[in-house]
Symmetry: C2
């Protein structure tokens, strides 16, 4: 019995016709009923014969019969491959990712995508990641199997504690850090450990839909709280909210910074009403103007702030690595939630990231990217304050990888659709409102667009808006 | 303002004493209150000066003062590093992982660990994983940022569908596959999507505690069902169970295979009572005797089986990659659960695994490991049926990477503790029982022990048991 071939073989006498037939019949049945799918490569005859304990001739004969009847095909170098049968249901190929030639754009032009939450992919230090990953893997396979820690690899927790204390003045110990599968798992763990059905949870309006989805999934009753030029309107916070979710460095999606008086007021509100604060610092490491305000976690004296960080913007969203810094009294509950949800994280990726941070590469990379993003942001703001200013009002911000702009006139959905037809993808602002009448606007994620792409995208958008 | 240094700098006139003092004071405060931790490397003077917009001399002066006062140290090649201060609370180093010289073992001998759920780490195809990972990373950074699919990378889902159809005769389409962060997330998603508070869920007794924890976390009422030599006693299944969790290939932890009549009876039970079956195939790809029975998923005609697979045994648990194959009508709910829990998985790891499977490397690796494990298993069974047979009764099994044995006499916890003192780590059987009086026994995970280690471990255990 071949361990990779889960098909029974009739144990007829060796070399007999019955044994050969049995193998042929079972392979044919498996192909016909779809268990062996088109394009799948069958094992080499010698390997299959060895593991089935039959002669190689038996396997060769079965394969040849299948070949003669068109159930498999043999290609030089590719081995014996299950054929596509005309009668079977075929899945349609997915639609192409890019529209070849959008109207309004030069023929053959690629669409320009202002994507939210995507950093400059091309700058990812791939060779370095490979090298550090190889070193971690060699250490892994040479040593005893590591202890699986659901809180995260101790070396990575230590590196993160050093990183956030340095980068964000967040005071913490490696024991206060919980490594997560991106910020999304951080929100989910908060939901699992702290949210009970109908628990009132304050969220920013507008805000980040995946956060709301994560907390709703655990039964939270969401209370949208408005945002103005100083960030979350703390005076409007309902007293009954047990959890307050906020993006102080760069309000998502509008952009303002939570002002110093509001920070103090929010912590005072939390203290007085016994609420917890979730500080989502999703892209605050990229800052373009005055000095940053202290994080809520830094200012907090009552252990009431859970800080959520991510490496999606500073490195790559595809790594799916983030973290929580939590007050000591909540740690056990959150680690237990992580253990039940996914158990320990991916050791290899965690060890690679730990080395990247500990050796100073991440800090250097962030500094380099800071300069790159500053230029892109400048180009974007220049473009938005030219003729486009007749249609769009840029909302002020000093950090992060997107810029929000209010539409002075026109329906948001119609503008977004017309822009897409003209070869420029831009996210609508309105969909980020949960309850109140939305403000019409556009969100320009610029992290993964070079300056030429930004200029081209804005030019196409200008044509669309001028023609309306 | 340095983007990686979240400390405010007093904007005094350039070159002034006040500006230098301010930087020194703020760094010192940050060191004293622990925001800058001992061992952390400060940025190079030039880099910090540039990003703060001050002269390099200002930074050098601040660093030198900190150095003179012992707050930082400067090491050639290591830059300026925050010093360990005597007055600060220090965390104790973790205890060493290995006891140097266990009594009963030769002096200086390493402990022998019969670990459950750990494959042969040294055989992991590390160089290949690196190479395929590098290729995937280069593709990622060269192309447009990929669409994040919470169901899993389409190429990986296609590869998994091919793999399970071939390896386990599980009939499925790439659309039926959901990629998960290990089997643990698969259990959690089932809990999230299908378990409501107090829902009766049948689990094997004894069984796998992390599965029970995952379902309990969502409020499941667990109903333990006994296991005998034919696996789960289907006749003892409570009719009210809405979900039945079972390990048909290699019952965890006892070892029997769920017999063919029981398989048919279980599916009939599910059909009649409208229950769903969770088929956990955690190490069934390693089989050492007669041919395997069809998977429940293969036999199922009613879309009532959720198949859980993992790459923890065939590759490495540290990858944290597993999958679900689900009936079509449950797919949307489970994918929504995945989206809320962690969002899309790690693109790089998923793309690397997809290539590993699609190019036939995984199948080859499993075939090679099958031979390695067969030898180790033989050695283990030989050892257990020698003089040790006076103390241990091996429970029959034909698959998987551990063997269970009943203790003929003696208290399980005392034997496990005495074994640990003698330098051999072996898992107790009893802790896997949830409700009924446990059977005393030992579990011998042998995946990550070579033949010499197995022999040595059993010899030490023999000394312990003979002396009791």
């Amino acid at each position: 019995m071949d361990p990779i071939l889960g098909l029974a073989l009739d144990p007829a006498p060796p070399g007999s016709r019955r044994r050969r037939d049995s193998l042929y019949r079972q392979l044919r049945t498996a192909i016909l009923d779809g268990r062996l799918r088109a394009g799948l490569r069958l094992p080499a005859t010698r390997a299959l014969a060895t593991s089935l304990g039959v002669s190689r001739n038996t396997v060769v004969a079965a394969y040849e019969r299948l070949l003669g009847e068109g159930y498999v095909s043999a290609r030089r170098g590719a081995g014996t491959v299950v054929a596509a049968l005309a009668g079977r249901a075929r899945r349609r190929p997915p639609p192409p990712l890019t529209t070849a030639s959008p109207p309004g754009a030069p023929p053959g032009a690629e669409p320009v995508r202002f994507r939210l939450g995507v950093p400059d992919t091309a700058s990812f230090p791939q060779a370095l990641w490979q090298r550090l990953g190889g070193r971690a893997a060699r250490r892994l396979i040479a040593g005893p199997a590591p202890h699986a820690d659901p809180q995260g690899l101790p070396a990575l927790r230590a590196a993160i504690a050093g990183h956030v204390s340095f980068a964000r003045a967040v005071a913490c110990d490696p024991d206060d850090v919980i490594v997560t599968a991106g910020a999304q798992q951080a929100f989910d763990l908060i939901g699992r450990a702290l949210v009970t059905p109908r628990l009132p949870v304050a969220v920013e309006e507008p805000g980040y839909p995946p956060l709301r989805a994560a907390l709703s999934a655990h039964g939270a009753r969401l209370l949208p709280v408005p945002v103005d030029a100083e960030g979350l309107v703390v005076a409007a916070l309902p007293r009954r909210a047990r959890l307050v979710c906020v993006t102080p460095s760069h309000q998502f999606p509008l952009g303002p910074v939570l002002s110093a008086p509001r920070r103090a007021a929010l912590l005072e509100h939390a203290r007085r009403h016994g609420a917890l604060v979730v500080e989502d610092d999703y892209d605050g490491e990229f800052r373009f103007a005055d000095r940053p305000l202290d994080a809520l976690q830094t200012l907090d004296r009552d252990g009431s702030v859970l800080y959520v960080g991510t490496f999606s913007k500073s490195l790559l969203p595809e790594l799916r690595l983030g973290y929580l810094v939590v007050p000591r009294r909540l740690r056990a509950a959150l680690v237990a939630a992580k253990a039940a949800a996914t158990g320990a994280g991916p050791w290899l990726a965690e060890a690679t990231l730990a080395a990247l941070i500990a050796e100073g590469h991440l800090a250097r990379h962030v500094r380099r990217m800071q300069r790159l993003y500053a230029r892109r942001r400048e180009r974007l703001l220049e473009g938005l304050t030219g003729p486009l200013a007749a249609h769009l009002e840029v909302l002020p911000s000093v950090a992060g990888l997107h810029v929000a702009a209010r539409l002075r006139h026109g329906r948001e959905a119609a503008v977004v659709a017309a822009a897409a037809r003209a070869g420029v993808a831009v996210a609508p602002l309105g969909v980020h409102y949960a309850a109140t009448p939305p403000v019409a606007g556009l969100l320009f994620g610029y992290g993964n667009l070079d300056e030429a792409g930004i200029a081209e995208g804005l030019q196409r958008l200008g044509t669309v808006l001028a023609g309306r």
